[in-house]
């Protein structure tokens, strides 16, 4: 008897339990009845608006200047530390080899945020970013609001942005302000329709996004002293791709340092390697992560 035949003999008798199958059947039935989770913009629907906003974006880039250095990282250093991830990071580094072996190479489909990249000036800001894993996370969990799917509705021009409560011309001139719609809360697993103003700095080039773009982002809790919302950290700011029915978040990588890569891996879980097949897409990513995995890790963290 060959190995193939013996393997079939052995494995054919191994099956999931009836109890498990009944449970899965019930879960599938419940899932089928849920409203569909919105994932992507309809490019055709937003195409016309994007063309108009491109003009605004070009003007904004000219106005704000190009490639200037930020003195205002989006990430503040917190004082109290009830939990340290530095230790975990060091311990998990031993798994890097195994992770590399298990990565899945994929060719990216059409870029979802191509509107932004039509005008993107890739000249990343690299100063002022946190230098350690601890610096990013220590004592800051209570600042996290949730992990959202946002759709950019339009860009605020400089005069509009300057009228926002809490706007600081010295600190905020390197950032873009957008009207954005919260379409889904990945942690709360709930659809949304709230319109917010979100501040997105130019770490990965300016303008970071354009009308119609979708992004998955962890936002800080609302600060009543400000008329806009901020990201928790730009390493939790993902471009979205759908591959085989699964949503992946891609982390822009131009200025990621090692600590931020560690943080991204910690929350993102599996790294998916990719090949860029579109010569016109200048996006450079550190990795692709399953959106559901990121959400689950954040949900677990916040429930601790």
């Amino acid at each position: 008897m060959t190995f193939r035949e013996k393997l079939h003999n052995n494995l054919d008798g191994i099956s999931p339990s009836d109890e498990l199958l009944s449970r899965v059947s019930q879960m599938m039935a419940e899932e089928a009845e849920k409203p569909k989770q919105p994932i992507y913009l309809n490019v055709a629907k937003w195409g016309a608006m994007a063309a108009a906003v491109c003009l605004i974006a070009v003007g904004a880039v000219s106005f704000f200047g190009k490639g200037s250095e930020s003195t205002t990282p989006d990430i503040a250093v917190a004082d109290a530390s009830g939990y340290s991830l530095e230790k975990d990071f060091v311990e998990t580094s031993a798994t890097d080899e195994a992770k590399t072996e298990e990565t899945l190479s994929v060719s990216l489909p059409e870029y979802q945020n191509k509107n932004a990249y039509e005008n993107l000036d890739i000249n990343p800001v690299t100063k002022g970013l946190p230098s350690s894993f601890e610096e990013i996370m220590n004592g800051r969990y209570d600042e996290i609001d949730s992990f959202y799917l946002l759709r950019i509705a339009d860009t605020l021009d400089t005069s509009e942005a300057s009228q926002l409560k809490g706007y600081d011309p010295d600190l905020d001139s390197e950032a873009f302000f957008y009207n954005a719609i919260i379409e889904y809360d990945y942690i709360g697993k709930a659809a949304g329709n709230e319109t917010i103003i979100v501040r997105i700095p130019c770490e990965e080039g300016c303008p970071p996004y354009a009308t119609g773009d979708s992004l998955a982002v962890v936002l800080q809790k609302k600060d009543e002293s400000k008329g806009y919302r901020k990201r928790f950290s730009y390493v939790f700011n993902y471009d979205i791709y759908e591959i085989d029915g699964i949503s992946y978040g891609a982390v822009r990588s131009q200025s990621l340092n090692e600590a931020e890569k560690g943080l991204t891996d910690f929350f993102g879980g599996n790294i998916v390697e990719y090949e860029t097949t579109m010569p016109t897409n200048p996006a450079v990513y550190y990795g692709l992560y399953e959106i559901d995995g990121i959400a689950e890790n954040l949900r677990n963290l916040l429930s601790e």
């Binding site: 060959t2 013996k6 059947s25 699964i246 929350f267 599996n270 890790n297």
Partner: protein, 173 residues
């Protein structure tokens, strides 16, 4: 298999029942743990229903399910939670699944040997000799290159020959 493209509760259920063994056995081969294979089975079919894809034929559906099983186990094995899991504690608290695994290893000599291989070799051997996938199909499902798959099969076979005296392999690519 009859056409199951209609998105009814009955059709989803029929797909799950039809492919549950395939998904479960692959998940078990990759994780080496029946309890983890249980969790992955649930996750795979939740993703299947969320994807709500249209399939050209049953081969297409099967390829999709194999691929998301591989992706789910990857996510599971490299998740922050799994990397920090205390396996000794897990075994103490869940003696039931540990017993299931030892039953499999005891009663199934060949499969028990397969579970002793490094994971990437297990996956290639499982897909080639149990699911009857070609090297090209395995490469597509796992994201590895065809030469890498051939190498995994070759090394996996060499290890199995050491573990299983006298075993013969057919269809060596």
């Amino acid at each position: 298999m009859t056409e199951l493209s209609l998105c009814t509760r009955e059709s989803f259920d029929a797909v799950m029942r039809h492919y549950s063994d395939m998904v479960y056995r692959l998940a078990l081969s990759r994780t080496g743990n029946p309890a983890d294979a249980d969790d992955i089975l649930q996750e795979v079919f939740l993703r299947y229903i969320k994807a709500d894809k249209t399939y050209n034929d049953e081969e297409h559906r099967k390829a999709f399910l194999l691929k998301i099983t591989i992706n789910c186990t990857k996510s599971f094995l490299t998740s922050a939670w799994n990397r920090h899991r205390d396996f000794a504690e897990a075994d103490e608290n869940t003696g039931g699944y540990d017993k299931r695994l030892s039953d499999i290893e005891t009663k199934s000599e060949v499969y028990g040997a397969l579970l002793k291989l490094p994971q990437k070799y297990r996956t290639a051997i499982h897909l080639f000799y149990y699911e009857d996938l070609s090297v090209a199909q395995i490469a597509k499902a796992t994201g590895a290159g065809e030469s890498a798959v051939k190498s995994q099969l070759s090394r996996g076979r060499a290890m199995l020959k050491e573990l299983l005296e006298g075993v013969e392999f057919d269809d060596i690519p």
